[in-house]
């Protein structure tokens, strides 16, 4: 979907008028995503997931710290395959967000900012994440 620039942008609300009639394509479904773009969007998705997942983690933490009975209750929860799956998925989100975040910080220092460097960074991020997911899975099950 091609959208004419001036009408389409929030930044033009108000008095400022940008006399730029170049078309801009922001229809993400029509864009081919290179690997660094996929790692970037996964970083965002994992971030949003963690934001809501924190409620689960706080609940489990509170229960486990409240009393010996609560601690045993949490251990009991962890025998449930569904709980294991949810915790594993959350852990995967956290691990991915951490690894992609470290890559982000490295790039903030100007390392790997070329097209080739970004691709290498994305490959390393995915490779490390897959290993971390596997280790987390073995640990939980």
């Amino acid at each position: 979907m091609l959208v004419p620039y001036p009408e389409a942008h929030d930044s033009n609300i108000g008095k400022r008028i940008v006399k730029d009639t170049r078309p801009v394509n922001l229809d993400l479904t029509s864009v081919k995503f290179p690997l660094p773009a996929i790692t970037s969007i996964l970083h965002r998705i994992s971030g949003v997931a963690i934001f809501f997942g924190v409620a689960v983690l706080l609940y489990l933490l509170q229960l486990s710290l409240a009393s010996e009975a609560g601690f045993e209750q949490v251990q009991e929860y962890f025998t449930n395959p569904l709980v294991k799956l949810v915790v594993w998925l959350l852990l995967c989100g956290l691990l991915y967000h951490l690894i992609a975040g470290v890559k982000h910080l490295i790039m903030d220092f100007g390392i790997g900012e070329t097209k080739a460097g970004a691709k290498t960074g994305a490959i390393v991020t995915i490779a490390l994440s897959v290993v971390a997911f596997a280790v987390a899975g073995v640990w939980i099950w």
Partner: protein, 122 residues
């Protein structure tokens, strides 16, 4: 205008910096917690309670909670202002985004109060 009014620090550069500093704190905290599981794989209740009762850990936990709140605010704001725009929602976008941001901020406030209760109150 609404976009600026709901950002974490009202400054893009400060938000950028807070996002990174909080990320380092959260990364360190996550490694600390995961590390404690690796070092003590069979923790009992008393060891688990003692871990979070230590003053150093209480400070680290509360610091990480504050970092989480700032980090989540900036991250959710970034996602919201990128995807909940007039391009996707037309004229209603500002209302939708404002509602989304209000829910995010409310949840962050709940996490903050709840977290203080857990880390300081137990």
């Amino acid at each position: 205008m609404v976009t600026n009014a709901t950002s974490f620090s009202r400054s893009g550069l400060t938000d950028w910096l807070v996002q990174r500093l909080s990320a380092v704190v959260l990364g360190a905290y996550m490694l600390c917690i995961l590390g404690s599981f690796v070092v003590h794989p069979d923790m009992d209740y008393e060891q688990w309670r003692a871990l979070f009762a230590a003053d150093s850990m209480r400070i680290f936990s509360l610091l990480s909670l504050a970092a989480l709140c700032a980090h989540a605010w900036i991250g959710m704001w970034t996602v919201g202002t990128d995807y909940l725009t007039s391009l996707q929602f037309g004229k209603g976008a500002t209302s939708i985004r404002l509602a989304y941001q209000a829910i995010c901020i409310l949840l962050i406030a709940v996490y903050l109060i709840w977290g203080i209760r857990i880390f300081w109150g137990t």
